[in-house]
Symmetry: C2
Subunit: 276 residues, 2 copies
């Protein structure tokens, strides 16, 4: 397995694969030689670090792109000549329609998009953990051109590190994550700006949890948000419509409406099983 980009996701993937198979050959590529060094040392076993994407890909049966989305197409072009026949490639980008379009163009039927919904407000190799993917959902986003065996291959791959699999098309994926990930990021950031530092210092556990994601990397998140612009703008519309219902119930002192809205939200939220 070759992993390009040993950050939070790529590093955790290397650690998780190593935990499931002590003898699995791993090939890591990273821009920063220090990080690459640390990562190969910590992962241990049959692992090699490379500074060239082409060398990294040589002989790998599975390649996983874990870099920022902006770099993926370029890297794919670089390692394309080194792909063995039968090598399968995926990426872990948080937005799928644009990434799938550009990588499928380069890699053709060797490629399927993935998006493991794992991670935290942290980023980088130092936050990587072999347990990151346990009990998380991994999306696979095939297109009409994707061969079924490629989907099967990556379903088994992500299951081996603890994910459950959701197969969906790239656009539907992007609409779903706009609502469950990108929109909550924007509302958390807006809550923090509305509170301000001084008021925030008085906050309790509710505020802490509600705004935790706002600590995420601004660079990474502005990239994600721009890649999923359309779906995010329509999620914002939907959110503001729902918030408007609460505002009206409060403004007009409609107690029953307010209770009903809160009860509806509580019921949906309580239906989400606690993580085991």
């Amino acid at each position: 397995v070759a992993i390009l980009g040993p950050g939070l996701i790529g590093g955790s993937l290397a650690l998780a694969l190593r935990a499931t198979d002590p003898s699995l050959p791993l090939r890591l590529w990273g821009r920063n030689p220090d990080t690459l060094n640390k990562a190969t040392k910590t992962v241990g076993g049959d692992v090699m670090g490379f500074s060239s994407p082409e060398e990294t890909a040589q002989g790998a049966a599975t390649i996983v792109l874990c870099t920022p989305m902006e770099c993926m197409e370029n890297l794919a072009r670089k390692f394309l000549p080194a792909l063995s026949s039968g090598t399968l490639v995926t990426d872990v980008g948080s937005v799928k329609a644009p990434v799938v379009a550009s990588l499928e163009k380069v890699l053709g039927s060797s490629y399927v998009g993935s998006h493991p919904m794992a991670g935290s407000e942290q980023s980088g190799w130092n936050s990587a953990s072999a347990q990151l993917f346990e009990n998380s959902v991994c999306f696979l986003t095939p297109t009409p051109h994707t061969p079924k065996p490629a989907v099967k291959h990556f379903a088994a791959f992500w299951r081996s590190v603890g994910c459950s699999i959701q197969i969906t098309d790239p656009k539907q994926h992007d609409q779903a994550v706009a609502r469950i990930s990108h929109l909550p990021h924007l509302t958390a950031a807006a809550l923090v700006l509305a509170a301000g530092g001084q008021t925030q210092s008085l906050a309790g556990p509710g505020y802490r949890d509600s705004t935790r994601v706002a600590m995420g990397s601004p660079d990474m998140w502005s990239g994600i948000i721009q890649h999923n612009r359309e779906a995010i703008l329509s999620s914002l519309d939907l959110f503001e419509q729902k918030l408007g219902l609460f505002r009206r119930a409060v403004t007009e002192e409609k107690t029953e409406d307010l209770q009903e809205l809160l009860a509806g939200a509580a019921k949906i939220r309580r239906s989400l099983p606690r993580k085991s």
Copy 2:
């Protein structure tokens, strides 16, 4: 110490006081005899349960009202004739201006408002814990009529169970909690309604944390929100203004603006010390 209402807050207070002093005499009042029974058994030591507020207050040096805010004035009127001279009374209501006004009218200089910012999406005696108040902020909200020794008394009281103290006037308190507690509750509920049950089932840890508070009791929260209507409506205005900045940056594809907004929020949120 007499505690009226052995729910999440009142029950936790009884357990926390018992943990700090095994021989402290405690007097509990609750509407539900079964809960009252369970609570007195679990708290143990010198503890008595009462069904009359008047009896509960007899001989108590400190009285803490931990019921829903709607019931507090009525209870205070009932136990008023039984107050010893020097007895001090507080309440734990989440909104202070209306509660302080009504209780000060009944109890005069025996009363100071409190609001320990502890709790969770759970409620009731079964969720009570002796550690609930550790590392949390407790507001005290004196008015120009409140005697200083009463403030000092309750500052020491809440510190003894692990709180740090913030003294502020009732209106300022209500504006602050609108922003750090009531507004995040409404946005969490609106996020859940915008996601819907099916999309939500795909969610990761970010969504879980961002929306946890939406599981809170709809009855309790509609009470809180109505009591703090004005401050909440102005927090909503402020929030929507901040969210509008994000929307504009996304709509107009202004990458730098978006990064700056996200970085500003991340910086403020990261300045909040992790709970020790």
